[in-house]
Symmetry: C2
Subunit: 241 residues, 2 copies
């Protein structure tokens, strides 16, 4: 049984403010909870109605679930995880491949970009503080389980890039720049993706060592952030092969 | 001024049934109407409140717009276009590059795929009849203007593929298949994208000449339809260069 206070606590985690305060986040739904358990994410609490066939820490009734849920149509499972801040170590971007998101505000895009980083086995993703909140259900859902497999840091991007050796390529995606098909094999690189509406912030733009362009053959003015990032990653991996 | 009947007619175009009956569709919003006008799409009617600065065929009040609009928050412009069916000519897929969508039901995905076909200047897109409706506002919005630039047919895919010469490559995206990085230069090819949930239908799958795979390095189980299509198109264009 869930007390009124327990329900209130779970519901409060809808808001980033309360997630930060309590250091906890919630995910709901058979599919996403199942994906994260399969990816070995260690939930601290799992509330489930009899319809849920996976592990649980507490049984709840459908009525309790309806009151605790963040959604108008609750599912059979609601899981709570700890927010473990992973501070970016000094010189943290110097080695390996990093996807850096500069103000990407759409939660679906952030989730998709985590999935891309996972597919291409990038070493880490760095979010600027004004990106969509990593611990919102929309981001976690859109990542299709990649949330649990990718190392993600939140950091001031311009400052993090300023600490890099001058030899580390910092690549921005732009409509004018070096043809992505001519990228050399890079062991270390940062790929920077800007916000949907505003592009790269001036402070981050000032830190780029190169712009890369995906050759365009037709009339579309742009590609979305996820597609641009995926094509750059595919070409980077192809160059390494 | 809009009569009650005129408002009723515009509102009825929310439903595919009425769009098909009248051979008309509606788009609303400054951004998308502006994109389509810029792409030289010839709207037959444009209703606008004083806030709209573009062309119009009739001035309406905000109250009239609120009643005609398909959305709870109307914009300053509502445009009507004709549905011009473009039947697939016999042997229509034999020449050039075709993107074929087999049951892609998410309107956002269909719109994104039109944008990709536009960016890479594919010769046409073919939708199976069970794809999201091309003339729904969600598809048109997601295409970011590409709706007006790409040639789109709706056709029974398996039948259209059956009419192809045996030499035309029909490529399915799959988790096992030929590495997309090894694609040769293809002047003519059909790239087939399956539904989000079910993949390719058996009848279409039977017509593939080859499966292509995007090499995976990490843990994500799949990439979404738009990203897979974009990476295949980028590699096809790269091979041609």
């Amino acid at each position: 049984m869930l007390t009124k206070a327990a329900i209130q606590r779970l519901r409060s985690l809808r808001e980033k403010k309360h997630r930060t305060e309590l250091g906890l986040f919630v995910v709901e739904g058979e599919k996403v909870v199942g994906e994260l358990i399969a990816a070995k994410f260690a939930f601290t609490e799992i509330y489930a109605t009899p319809a849920w066939t996976g592990p649980r820490t507490a049984a709840v009734t459908e009525e309790e679930m309806a009151r605790a849920s963040h959604f108008p149509t609750p599912s059979s499972v609601l899981a709570v995880g700890k927010i473990n801040p992973t501070p970016l170590p000094a010189g943290g971007l110097a080695r390996g491949l990093t996807l850096a998101l500069d103000g990407v505000q759409d939660p679906g895009n952030v989730g998709t970009l985590l999935r891309i980083a996972d597919w291409f086995a990038l070493d880490r993703v760095v979010l600027s503080p004004d990106c969509a909140d990593l611990f919102s259900q929309k981001v976690i859902n859109a990542s299709m389980g990649s949330f649990a497999r990718v190392t993600v840091h939140t950091a001031d991007l311009a400052a993090a890039l300023a600490g890099l050796p001058a030899t580390t390529p910092v690549l921005g995606c732009d409509l004018e720049g070096r043809d992505v098909h001519t990228l050399p094999a890079l062991r270390d690189a940062v790929i920077v993706i800007g916000s949907e509406g505003r592009g790269l912030s001036p402070a981050v733009k000032a830190k780029l060592t190169d712009s890369v362009t995906i050759p365009r053959y037709g009339g579309a003015e742009s590609l979305n952030a996820g597609i641009a990032a995926a094509i750059v990653c595919d070409n980077l991996r192809r160059a390494q092969a």
